[in-house]
């Protein structure tokens, strides 16, 4: 509708887009700048970390430097340092002139002369070498000859050289030399230089020795870094380059850039969490772990998880976001990472939380329902061994058949040579089978051993008719923790009728048998025995504040309410004595976990009497339904459903499998497979939708993921409640979080095949048998005994603690140890005693170890102390008569009151003894250990009654610290060594002689 009269400018061709273009170009530019800023700054937050670290750390070092310098000064002022410094000065002064002379001679004389001679020599030699090559490639003998002459000519050519004088005076001499003379000149100078340098070294030896002594003194006394080292660190900070700090492990393509922000981790100065204001900069809290696992070889995320590559943000780097499968462990679970490589162990030194988790898994009986590789390995090994046996037997039979065939073929062979081949083959097979016989025998032994070792976690329920009070059983099944708080038997969520059915089944299917009737004993004596014999190593008694003893076995506070007295006597006297079960052959009968304390009948009765008085006046309602066969039939289903047979021997359910999931790789299970059920959304919102969140909540309340679910009773979650403490939950969570499929190749994993494997193996047995309930095996390990008031409060009882086993392998001979473990009484008849420490009230019990376990335990102790197996006894120099006399004197001198404490076999004296008899030393101990023990017992067994500093150093030998008996004064040898030899050659007669002397 344009007005034709007036033509307006065409909007299309006249409109300018300059502004649009300018604005959009500017925006484009801005977005480019933003992209670069994003890439350079936002995506590299570590730059700010590094800037701050440099500032804070420099300030920290500046403050630290003078403190350390002052410490160093203080050490420099100390008389020892001053003295060494003085000596050093003197020593340096004494050789200064000579050193200067040598330096001048070498620098200005010998080396220039040598160089000059060599240069001239090399010119000639190159010429000769070229001629030689021509000779080698020439085919004309005449040419060769002439060229050889040419070489001769070169050799004899006289060269004029100007050589500096060797004495370093700066002068030169002009010489006319031939090829060989030049070579001699050169070699001569070389030798001279070597000699002079050797002389220089020799001259400085004393000064160097003193200097390193001085430096050693400094580093020995100085806590922390020296001032110069700190200066070096400060210089590092001045030259600090801002950029990615990364560890790259090529073989597993691991890139860890953790240290781009955690800059203080490997600083040699200990940086506390707030020393540099922000904890991100602190140094690794356990630097000793980094010395074993050098981050350059292991990286960071291999242990800690997280996304080592990511540097974009804390969340990304720590991998704590959706879709990252390996989020960093939280500090309380940090030891979970150990299992990446230490998966085969039950004890990993330094991983105390993890160890606790593993021990709980073992000793709370988790493996009754949940398989976990390594736990209950005996059962699986037994299967494997049986299979292997069958295979070998089949091979054996096949071999035998083939042998017969070959013999027949040989008999009918056409000619002798062929017959011989068949016969040879038959012979070979016969010998193979002979070898197989031996192997089969070993496997059979192993099978028998394993059959003894396989045992379920809980007590056998086949004997409950003889053992327990009938009416008590349903109450216990209903809620074990009400009767016995903290019991390992967890609380199942059972309906009352299920309780009755289960009880009825157990009762009606239990074995019938007769028990020997026992009279009542003396409860007071029983209590004393119970508290001191060793029962408290595993069992506890009392509740609340008065509870004492170990938590490995049951708390016996109310045991009198549940157990029959006669059964209790039999059980205490010998746990291996059981009512015969017609369905289980004796050889296949599992040995009880509870060991025998080798008590007399009277002692057993006393303890049983004391224990049977441990009861409240709780009344149990009558339970007639327990004799109702219909109830029992229903009970079988309930028992199957709840997996009771996972932990208990139950008649009719011997072959029952586990009902729970295999947890070996639970930590790598996809999160989606963990059933958060109705809690999923809540977990996501509250931030615990993670493995950790699942484990913690499940362990705290195993029914938690049933909450709100509309389910039939039997469809509900079955896992019972163990009422774990927060610490236990954390330990088990740590253990499960670390139960992952390792991402590391073999060379990273700790799967040793040398003696360290014996140590790994041994810990399994030790944990399973609670050796640490009585003994201290690892430093820091607190035994149950050490928590009993009697032993902590009374210094006299402190000496009654069972021995520490820190260096047991170095102490005793392996054969003896095996024998001792098999029978700690060291006697077949006189069993009611300790074989070694008869003076101890606590008694080393007889465990029902199989031969395999005995061997493993022995190997464990030997391997821990790097003792060679088999053991080669040290040759011991026999005592001369004179030495024997001196030894005798030393033994009874006031300076060494050995017999005041050590047992002698004289009952009146042994009442107060606190140390073993010398008579068994030679078969039990190793001389070298004994020698060290006498010198410094406290460093072998901290807190021992054996006093230290019995000897003092005299030149190269140890002599008695006190007054030396007259006869020994002239003795030139080492007193401790003499005493060791004396001890190892002591016999009964000698001991009597000693007593007479005393």
């Amino acid at each position: 509708m344009a007005e034709e009269t007036q033509v307006q400018p065409d909007p299309i061709t006249t409109k300018s887009y300059s502004v649009h273009l300018l604005v959009s170009m500017l925006l484009l530019l801005a977005s480019l700048v933003w992209a670069i800023y994003d890439e350079v700054e936002i995506m590299r937050p570590y730059k700010e970390y590094q800037g701050r670290f440099r500032a804070y750390y420099s300030r920290f070092l500046t403050e630290l430097q003078p403190q350390q310098a002052a410490k160093e000064d203080a050490i420099r002022q100390s008389p020892e340092y001053q003295q060494i410094s003085g000596e050093l000065g003197t020593a340096e002064e004494a050789v200064r002139a000579r050193i200067a002379e040598i330096d001048r001679e070498v620098g200005q004389g010998v080396v220039p002369r040598m160089t000059a001679a060599r240069n001239a020599f090399q010119v000639l030699r190159s010429e000769i070498d070229a001629q030689r090559y021509l000779i080698e490639v020439s085919h004309d003998e005449g040419d060769k000859q002439s060229m050889r002459e040419e070489i001769e000519e070169i050799r004899s050519r006289v060269v004029e050289v100007e050589l500096p004088l060797a004495d370093g005076s700066g002068g030169t001499e002009e010489l006319e030399l031939q090829y060989e003379q030049l070579e001699a000149e050169f070699l001569g100078m070389q030798e001279l230089r070597t000699n002079l340098q050797a002389e220089r070294l020799e001259a400085l030896a004393e000064a160097n020795r003193l200097r390193s002594k001085r430096d050693a003194l400094m580093s020995d006394r100085l806590v922390g870094l020296g001032a110069t080292q700190i200066d070096g660190l400060m210089a590092n900070m001045r030259n600090f380059d801002i950029g990615i700090k990364q560890i790259h492990l090529l073989d597993i393509d691991l890139v860890d850039r953790c240290e781009s922000c955690h800059l203080g981790i490997r600083e040699p100065v200990e940086i506390g969490p707030t020393d540099l204001i922000y904890p991100v900069f602190q140094s690794h809290p356990r630097p000793e772990l980094l010395t074993i696992h050098d981050p350059e070889a292991f990286g960071c995320s291999s242990c800690h998880n997280g996304n080592g590559r990511a540097t974009r943000s804390v969340t990304k780097g720590h991998g704590r976001h959706k879709f990252w499968l390996w989020p960093m462990y939280f500090p309380e679970n940090v030891e979970a990472g150990c299992q990446q490589c230490h998966a085969k162990e039950i004890v990993t030194p330094g991983g105390e939380t993890l160890n606790m988790g593993r021990e709980l898994y073992m000793n709370k009986g988790c493996w009754g329902c949940h398989r976990f590789e390594g736990y209950d390995a005996e059962a699986e090994e037994l299967t494997a061994v049986s299979q292997e046996l069958r295979n070998l037997s089949a091979t054996h039979a096949a071999n035998a058949k083939e042998m017969r065939v070959n013999l027949d073929l040989g008999d009918t062979a056409a000619d002798g040579a062929a017959a011989q081949r068949y016969y040879a083959r038959a012979e070979e097979l016969r010998l193979t089978n002979t070898r197989l016989d031996a192997e089969l025998h070993n496997l059979e032994m192993e099978q028998a051993n394993l059959a003894q070792e396989v045992k379920k976690f809980g007590p056998s329920l086949k004997e409950i008719k003889l053992k327990d009070v009938k009416e008590w059983i349903p109450a216990w099944v209903k809620n074990p923790h009400e009767f016995r708080p903290g019991s390992k038997m967890p609380v199942f969520r059972l309906l009352d009728e299920e309780v009755q059915q289960i009880s009825a089944y157990l009762w009606q299917n239990a074995l019938d048998g007769e028990l020997v009737r026992h009279p009542r004993g003396n409860a007071e004596r029983g209590q004393e025995l119970f508290e001191t014999r060793g029962c408290l190593g595993c069992h506890s008694i009392g509740e609340g504040d008065t509870q004492m003893g170990g938590d490995f076995a049951a708390n016996l506070s109310r045991v009198g309410e549940k157990m029959n007295y006669d059964y209790m006597v039999r059980w205490i006297h010998d746990p291996s004595e059981v009512t015969p079960d017609p369905n289980v052959p004796d050889a296949m009968r599992p040995r009880p976990v509870m060991p025998s304390l080798r008590l007399t009948d009277r002692e057993s009765r006393d303890i049983a009497t004391y224990l049977s008085e441990q009861r409240t006046d709780q009344e149990y309602p009558p339970a007639p339904y327990m004799d109702d066969p219909e109830m029992a039939a229903a009970g079988l289903d309930a028992i199957r459903h709840y997996g009771c047979a996972g932990c208990h021997e139950i008649a009719g359910l011997e072959e029952e499998g586990r009902i729970g999931t295999d947890l070996t790789l639970e930590g790598s299970k996809p999160l989606e497979r963990l059933d958060f059920a109705l809690k999923t959304h809540e977990a996501e919102l509250e931030g615990w939708y993670s493995h950790k969140g699942f484990f913690e909540r499940k362990l705290e309340n195993p029914a938690v993921f049933d909450e709100g679910k509309e389910r039939e009773h039997l469809e509900r979650l079955r896992m019972p409640n163990f009422n774990l403490s927060a610490e236990e939950i954390n330990a088990l969570t740590t253990f499960l979080l670390g139960a992952v499929e390792t991402t590391f190749p073999e060379q990273y994993r700790f799967e040793p095949e040398d003696e360290r494997a014996d140590v790994q193996e041994g810990w399994w047995i030790i944990t399973r048998h609670n050796c640490t309930g009585c003994h201290q095996i690892r430093p820091g390990n607190v035994s149950s005994f050490m928590t009993i008031p009697r032993y902590t409060d009374d210094p006299d009882w402190a000496e009654q603690l069972p021995p520490q086993l820190y260096t047991e392998g170095a102490r005793v001979q392996p054969d003896w140890l095996t024998g001792f473990l098999a029978n700690p009484a060291l006697s077949e008849q006189d069993v009611n005693r300790n074989g070694v420490r008869e003076y101890l009230h606590a008694r080393m019990p007889t465990f029902y170890f199989s031969d395999r376990q005995l061997a493993k335990l022995t190997k464990f102790f030997m391997a821990r102390d790097s003792q060679p197996v088999p053991h080669m006894p040290e040759a011991m120099e026999p005592l001369t008569n004179a030495e024997r006399a001196i030894g005798r004197q030393l033994f009874v001198s006031d300076a060494a009151p050995c017999l005041n404490c050590h047992m002698t076999g004289v009952p009146s004296q042994d009442v107060d003894a606190t140390a073993p008899n010398f008579l068994i030393a030679s078969e039990r101990l190793k001389p070298n250990w004994t020698y060290r023990w006498m010198l410094e017992p406290a460093s072998i067994a901290p807190g021992t009654a054996m006093p230290s500093e019995l000897f003092e150093r005299d030149g190269n030998r140890w002599v008695f610290a006190g007054q030396i008996p007259a006869q020994a004064r002239n003795y030139e040898g080492d007193h401790a060594d003499l005493l060791t030899r004396y001890m190892f050659q002591m016999d009964g007669a000698e001991l009597r002689r000693l007593q007479a002397l005393q």
Binding site: H20, Y49, S313, P795, D894, N900, Q909, G962, Q963
Partner: protein, 271 residues
Amino acid sequence: MSKGKVLAAALLPAVLLALAVACGGDDYFDDYDARTRGQQGGQSGGDAAPVGEMVTVDPATAATVTGMITFSGDAPRFPPVNMSAEPDCIQLHGGRVPSDRVVINDGKLQHVLVWVSQGLEGKRFPVRTDAVNLDQDGCIYKPHVVAVQMGQPLNITNSDPTTHNVHPLPRENREWNKSQTSNAPAIEYAFPRAEMKIAVKCNIHPWMQAYIHVMEHPYFAVSASDGTFEIGNLPPGSYTLQAVHEQLGEQEVQITVGPSESTEVTFAYSG
């Protein structure tokens, strides 16, 4: 419909979204500062300083506490010391050696530690430098109870013709066990940490027993054979005084002492 509007409509949400995301990044340092600021606000004025101030006591105004430990009733009976295992020791005594576990002279109890258990928190005092002596004499520790300040030297001597070993069994200090032959030089030791009732044993002579109390401050005393004790140079103030006997237990008393005052306190034990 101009391109300008289309352009604005397209870019605006994008820019807004971009800004929202750009501001949402996690900043460790700011977060940490914010967190710790909150904590410090809550903490201030809470805990006492871990290391107390060093106090110098003006002798002009210092107070003294003296007192007596009495015992009434039947004393617990302990069998006499049996030294039969060591003839050397028997010879040092003319016959029966009474037990040193509870020593009562005319109703006055010996070997009781009296110390200021409350009222000195957060203060530090100079360490006493005078050595305390613990002698092994006649195969008996003399005295049976000693008290030292932490860091104060303790000299253990052997006056017997026989070898002893000195074996303190602390729970918090370092444990050690040294043999000491007859007339050997004194073992000097200063306990670095405060700890009550450290038992000392001689493993060679199991009957020998002593107790060492290591105190944080210098305000303590052990009752003498006449049951008296004296704690001097005490800054004026209110205190709780505690008496400790390993066998007979503990007693407490509240006292207030003014400048240069002298207060008398009696602890009465009974059988």
